[in-house]
Symmetry: C5
Subunit: 353 residues, 5 copies
C-alpha cells in the first residue's frame, strides 16, 4: 500500500470540509508570489505569509497570485477563507490525483488540469497538477512544484505585451494555452518513440521491444485521461456563458479547445499505431519461429533418411549381399546423393531455401 493509498484511506468517511493533501510532496517550501498589473502599472512581489496577499484582492488591477507547493494546508486554507473559496474547491486543489475539470462557483470559476513536460534526462514525461481560480479581477494558480513553464508569460507581462491591455479572463486563457502548447511537445515526444519502436520491431522483435510497447500503451492511456477531460472543461469555459469570461476571450478559448481536439486525435492515432505495432511484434515472433522450424526441418529431413541408409549397412547379418559388392559402398553414396538432391529440390520448390 503506497503513501497515496494511505491518504486516500484516511480520507474515506471524512466530511468534505476537512482539507488534506493527497499526493507526494514535490516542493520544499510553499512559495507565494503576486503579480498585479494594468496597462500602465506593474508590481511583482514574493510573499512570506498568505496575509500579504490579501490587499490585492480588491484592487482594480489584474492580480495573479501563484502558489507553488500544495503540502502546506494551513496557508491554502487561509487564502481560501479570505477569497471565500468553497471547501470542495480547496479539497480538489489539494487532491493531486484529481482528473481535469471545470467547476463554476457563485463567485469564481475553478479549473484543474495536469501540466506535462518532457523530462529529457530520464526520457520520461513529468506530470504536475495545476489549478486556477478565476475571480472578478484576480486569478489564483496552484502548482505542485516551482515551475518555469510560465516564466515566458511573466516576462511578457513585465514587458508590456498585449496582455497588459486585456482583462483577467484573458490571463486565464494564456495560462491554459501555455499548458496546452506543452501538450504538443509531449505528443511529438511520444510520436518519435512510436516511430523508433516501429523500426525496431521490424528489425528485431525482442523482449525489450515488448516492454516498450506496453509502456507506450500505458503512457498513451494516461495522456488520454489527461487531455480528454480538459477538452470538455475548456468547452464548458467558452460555451458556458459564464459572466467572468468576456465574449472577446471566447474566440481564444475556442482556439485552445481545437488544439486539445488535435492533441486528442493525435493520441488516439498513436494508440492505433501502437496496437498495430503489437500485431507486428506478434507476427514477428511467429515468423521467427517459422524460420527456426524450417531450419530444423530441412536438416532433419535431409539427414534422417541418409542416416537410415547408413544404419542399414551397419547391420551385422551374415547374409547381406550388397556388402560384398565391389562398388556397394560407392553405390550407397550415389543413392544418398540422389536423395539429398531430391530433398533440396523439394525445399526449393516450397521456397524454404
Amino acid at each position: 500500500m503506497t503513501d497515496t493509498t494511505k491518504n486516500i484511506s484516511k480520507k474515506a468517511g471524512l466530511p468534505p470540509g476537512v482539507l488534506m493533501h493527497v499526493g507526494k510532496r514535490l516542493a520544499d517550501n510553499v512559495r507565494i508570489s503576486v503579480i498585479d498589473y494594468n496597462a500602465t502599472d506593474y508590481i511583482e512581489k514574493t510573499c512570506k505569509t498568505p496575509e500579504e496577499v490579501f490587499e490585492y484582492r480588491d484592487t482594480k488591477n489584474v492580480t495573479w497570485i501563484n502558489i507553488d507547493g500544495l503540502h502546506d494546508v494551513d496557508t491554502i486554507a487561509k487564502i481560501g477563507e479570505y477569497f471565500d473559496l468553497h471547501p470542495l474547491l480547496l479539497e480538489d486543489v489539494l487532491n493531486t490525483k484529481h482528473r481535469p475539470k471545470l467547476e463554476e462557483y457563485d463567485n469564481c470559476l475553478f479549473i484543474t488540469l495536469k501540466a506535462l513536460n518532457v523530462d529529457e534526462e530520464n526520457n520520461d514525461i513529468n506530470s504536475e497538477q495545476m489549478s486556477f481560480v478565476l475571480g472578478p479581477n484576480w486569478i489564483i494558480s496552484f502548482q505542485e512544484r516551482e515551475g518555469d513553464i510560465f516564466d515566458g508569460l511573466r516576462q511578457r507581462i513585465k514587458e508590456k505585451g498585449t496582455i497588459r491591455q486585456k482583462s483577467v479572463d484573458y490571463l486565464l486563457y494564456r495560462l491554459i494555452d501555455t499548458v496546452v502548447d506543452y501538450y504538443f511537445l509531449i505528443t511529438e515526444f511520444v510520436s518519435d518513440a512510436t516511430i523508433d519502436l516501429e523500426e525496431r520491431v521490424f528489425e528485431e522483435p525482442d523482449d525489450d521491444a515488448l516492454k516498450e510497447i506496453h509502456l507506450l500503451k500505458k503512457r498513451l492511456a494516461n495522456l488520454r485521461k489527461i487531455t480528454g477531460p480538459l477538452r470538455e472543461a475548456v468547452l464548458g469555459l467558452y460555451k458556458g456563458g459564464n459572466k467572468l469570461i468576456k465574449q472577446s476571450t471566447e474566440r481564444y478559448l475556442q482556439d485552445v479547445y481545437e488544439h486539445l481536439i488535435q492533441v486528442n486525435e493525435t493520441v488516439e492515432g498513436q494508440r492505433d499505431t501502437v496496437a498495430s505495432i503489437m500485431d507486428l511484434y506478434m507476427t514477428g515472433v511467429s515468423n521467427r519461429m517459422n524460420q527456426v522450424m524450417q531450419v530444423l526441418t530441412i536438416i532433419a529431413t535431409i539427414f534422417i533418411p541418409l542416416t537410415f541408409i547408413a544404419g542399414i549397412y551397419g547391420m551385422n547379418f551374415d547374409n547381406m549381399p550388397e556388402l560384398h559388392w565391389k562398388y556397394g559402398y560407392f553405390i550407397v553414396w550415389g543413392i544418398m546423393s540422389v536423395v539429398t538432391l531430391f530433398m533440396i529440390f523439394y525445399f526449393r520448390r516450397k521456397k524454404w531455401l
Copy 2:
C-alpha cells in the same frame, strides 16, 4: 441451480406486491437502530420491534433509521406500510441482486447501491447491497449485514459535526459519499493487483498468472456494473430537481458524481491494462515456445549430421577405402569439428546463440 436461482424461479409470475428476499442471508438477526438529531438534541436507540420506530417519523428532527439484515420480510413490510413505501420499492430493497438505481416516488426518493470493502484476509472484495429511502425529514437505510463503514459518520453526528446543522438530504449525501470513498480503496486494491500481475507476467507467464488475469477481468467487469449505474443515479439526484434535495446539497452531490466518474475512468483504464497484460501473457508463451524450439533446433542440427557421418563409417561394406587409411578416424573427427564450427557460426549469425 443455486439458492438464488430457486428464489428467482419462485418469483417468476408472482404479482409485484409479494415480498420475498432474494440473495443469501448475511446477518443473524435483523437489527433496527434509530438516530434522531437536530443542532442541539441527539437520541440514539436500538429497537426490538419495528413499531418502536414509528414515533420518529413525524418529529421535526432529522431521523436516520438503519436496518441491518434483509431476510425478515415481515419487519420490513411493517415499516414499509407505516412509512407508506410503494410495494415495488420494498421489492427492490429485498432483491440483493438489483443493479444500483435511483427512483423518485411521490413521497420519497429511493436509491439502491452496492457498498464495497476490501476483505484483507481473503484478498477479496466484499460486496453488500444497500438501499436508502429519503423522506421529508427521515432516512431509512437498509443493509445486508451489520456494517461498520458508517461508524465514523455516526460518531461525527454524535460529536456535533457540521452535519448536525444540516438537513436530512445532507445526511443522504454523507451516506453515499462514504460508500463512494470506499470505492477509491477498491480501485487502489485492484490497481496494486494489476501492477503485481504485470511484473509477474513479464517474469514468468505461468498458468496461475492466466487464472489471475481472468479473475481480474471479471472483477473489473463487476466493478463497472456497480459504479456505472450508480453514477447515473447520482447524476439524477443532483440534476433531477427533486424538492427533497436542497440546492445547497446539490453541489456536494455533484462532487460525489465526479468521484464516481473518476472511479469509472480508473476501472476502464484498468480494463485496458489487463487486456494489454493478457497480450503480454500470450506473447510470453509464444516467446517461450520459440526458445524451446531454438534449443531443440540447435542440438538437432548440430548432431544429426555428425551422427550421419559416424553412421557412414559404421557400415560393413567389404570395400570401404577410408576405413583402412591410417588417419581416417582422425580425419573424420576433423570433418566433424568443421561441421560443428560452421553450425555454431551460422547460429551466431542468426542470433540464436
Copy 3:
C-alpha cells in the same frame, strides 16, 4: 433452403394485406379462450369458432382473449376484422421471425416479443413468438403453442387477486412481467453454463469445449437480439403517454423496463466472459503445445548427443585407438553420464523440468 425461406421468398413482392404464416407450425389446433372479469364477476370460456369471442368486445369488463397457434390464418383474419386490427398488425402477428417491437395504432397498442423457457430435457432454450394487442378494455394475446407460463396468472385472476381490481393495462403489464421474469431464469441458465465452461477450459481445453464456446456465443447474441428491442418497446410503453396506459400502471412498466436493463447487462457481461473464455481456450492450446514441445526437446537434446557418441565408436576404422583401451567402454559411459547430467541441470535452470 429451409421451409421458412420458402415462405419468405413467397412473400417477396406480395402486398402488405395478404396474410401468411411465416415459421414452423408448433400447435396442432388453434385454441381460442376467453377470460372476462371485473372485481366481482369472472367468466372463463373456450371458444370453438372465432365468432364466439365477438360478444366480449363491448362488455365493460376486462376481457382477455388468448389464441394458441398461428397457422390458421382464417381464424386470425376474422378476429382481426371484427376488432378492426390493421393488416400490418396481423402480418406481424403471423410472422414468427419478427423482432420484438411496440406499435401504436389509432385504436389499440400492439406489442410483439419472444417468450423464452428452459427446455431441461434437451438442455436447450425454447423460444416462442407472442403478441399482445391492447384495446380499450380487452387484450388479445397470440401464442405459437399452448403454453403454461400464464397458468399462474390465470389462477390468480380466478382467485380474486389484486389484479381483479385493476384495469386492462395492468393485465398487459402482468403478461409482459411474466415473460420477463422467465428471462431471469434464462440468464441464470446461461450463467451456469458459462461457469461450467470456464472450469472445463481451465482443466482441459478440448474440441468439445470449443464447440460449446461457439454455441454459447450464438445463444448470447440471440438473447441480446431478443431482449434489447423489447427493452426499447417497454420504454416506449411507459414513456409514450398513450392514453390506453393509465398513469398508475406506468410505475409498474418502469419496473419491467429496469428488469430488462438488468437482463441486458447480464447478457453483455456474459458475452465479455465468453470472449475471455475463448482467450483462455486459445492460451490453453498454446500452453499445451508448449508442453509437448518441451518433452520432445528434453528427450531429443539428451539422447541425440549420446547417440552420436555411440555412433562414433561404432565406426569400423582400422586405426581407432580408444577401441583398444581397456576401460574405453566404461570411459564412454562416464562421458555420457556427464553429458546427461549437464543437460538435466540446464533444463532445471530453464525450469523445463
Copy 4:
C-alpha cells in the same frame, strides 16, 4: 485502374451540371415504359423516345415511368429537363456507385438504393442501382438493367389490386417494399452460407474455408453499406413530414423501416458469427498443429532412447562385457520393452494417446 476509376477521374473538377454515367453498362438499350392508372382506367405503353412520356406528366392519374439502362445520358437529360429535375439529382441517378440516400427537392422526392438478387447460377449476389423520383402524381424509376423484380407488382396493378385505389406515394412504398423483401432472401442466402462454413471449419479448416470466410466478411460489409443508409433514408421518408407522402402511407413506410432494421440486425449478427468462425478457424489450425506435434513427439521420444541403446551395443570396443553375455541381446530387448511401456504409460497419463 479500372473503367470506373477512369470515369471518376474524368469527373474530378467538372461542374455539377455535367452528366456522365459512372459504372458499367449493364443493359443493351435504354427502355422506357409508362404505366398510367387510376381506380378504373389502366394504360401500359413502351416508349421509343423520351418525348412520348411527356404527355403523362400532367394527367390526374398515377403515372409510373420506368427507365431501364443508364448509359444513354441524353434521354435522361431530356426527361430531367421536362420534369424539372435538379442537375444534382440526375448526377446521382447516373452515378451507380452512389450510396443509398433520400433527398428532398422543392418539387419532388428523390431516393436512390441498391436492389439485390441472388444469382443462383454463380452462387453470388447481384447488385443493381435503382433510383425513384416521386412527383405530385408521378414516379420515375431508373434501373441499370431490365429487371423482373417489379413484374409481380405490375401484374397486380393491371389486375386492379388495392394499389389501384391508392395514390402515387403508396406506389413508391410498394416499390421500396419489393426491393426490401428481396433483402430478406439475401440474408437467408448469406445465413445458409454461414452455417455451411461453420460446419466445414469444425470439420476441416483448410485454405478454401479461409478464403470463404474472407469473402463472406466482405459480402456482409457490403450488405451493411447498402442497407444501413437505406434504413436512414426510409426513416427520413416517413418521419420527414414531406407533403408528397400522405399520412396513411407513413404507417406502411414505418413497416418497411422495421424490416430494414431487422435486415440490419441480421447482417450485424452474421458479422459476429463470421468473426467467431474466423476464431474457430484459427483455433482449428492451432489444434491441428498440436496434433502433428504430438505424433512427432510420441514417435521421437519412444524411439530415440531405444536407438541410443542399440547404438551403445553397436560400438566396437574390445572390452565390452555385455556383448559376450549369453542372454545379453535378449536382456537389451527386455530393457527396451520396459522403456517403451513406461513411455506409453507416461503419454497416456498426459492424455496424448
Copy 5:
C-alpha cells in the same frame, strides 16, 4: 527532433498573435494571383506585392485571390491586416499541421482542409494544407505549393461557365468540391492497393506484405483524420445558416457533404478489409508453419523407427540368432516395408499426405 518539432517547441508559450510558419517550405516563392469576374467581365492578374491585391477587395465583382506558398509570413500578415482577418485565423493558415475545420468570424468564413493527390511516380499520396477565407464578395485561398488542381476551374471561369453567373459562395463550393473529387481518386488508389495486397497475402504471406499492411493501415488512419473533420466542417457550412452562404448554394454543399460521407464509408470499409487481411496474413503464417511441421513429422516418424530396427541389428552381441538366419536381412527389409506402409496409410487417413 524534426524541424517541425522545433517550430512547435518555439511556439509553446508565445502569444496567439505572433505568426510563425509551422511545416516544411514546399514552394520557392510566394505567388499571388487574382481573378476578378462577373457575368460579363473577367480580369486575371499575377501580383508581385500584396498591396496590388487591395484594390479588388471592394469591387462588386467576385474576387478570387490565390496565394501559393506559406513561408513568407510578412506577405500574409499584410493581406490579413487589409482584409481584417483575425490573428487566430492567420495562425491557423500558417500551421500546416492543422486539422480540417470551419470557423465563422464576424466578417468572414474560414475553412482549412487537406488537398490530396496521387503521386504516381513514388506510388504515394501527396498531402497539402489549403485554407479558404470567404468574405462578402471575395475568397482568399492559401496553398502550400503552386498547384494545378484548380486549373480546370480557372479555365471554366475564363470560358464563361455557369459559375460566372453565380455569387462568391458558389465559387467556394466549387473549390471544396474540386478537392473532394480528388479524394475519390485517393480512395480508388488505396482500394487498388488493398486488392493487390489481398491476393499477395493469399499467395505468399512474406515480410514485405506485412510492411505493406502496416503502411496501408497508417494511410487509412491518416485519410480518416483528414476526411472526417472536413465532413463536419462542410456540414457546418450548409447547416450553419451563415449569411455569407446563399440558400441556393446549400443544396450543392449538401452534395459535397454526401460525397464526404461516401469517402468516409469507403475508408472505414477499407480499414475493415485491411484488418481482415492482417488476419489472413497471420493465418497464412500459421498454416505455413503447420505445413513445415507436417513434413518434418512425416519424415521423422517414418524413418526413426526404421533407423531403430537397423540399429538393433548393428549391435555386436555374440548371441544374436537372427543375424545368422539365411533370410534375416530380407525379413528385416520386409518388416521395414510394412512399418513404412502402415505409416503412410496412417498419414493418409489424417490427410497429411
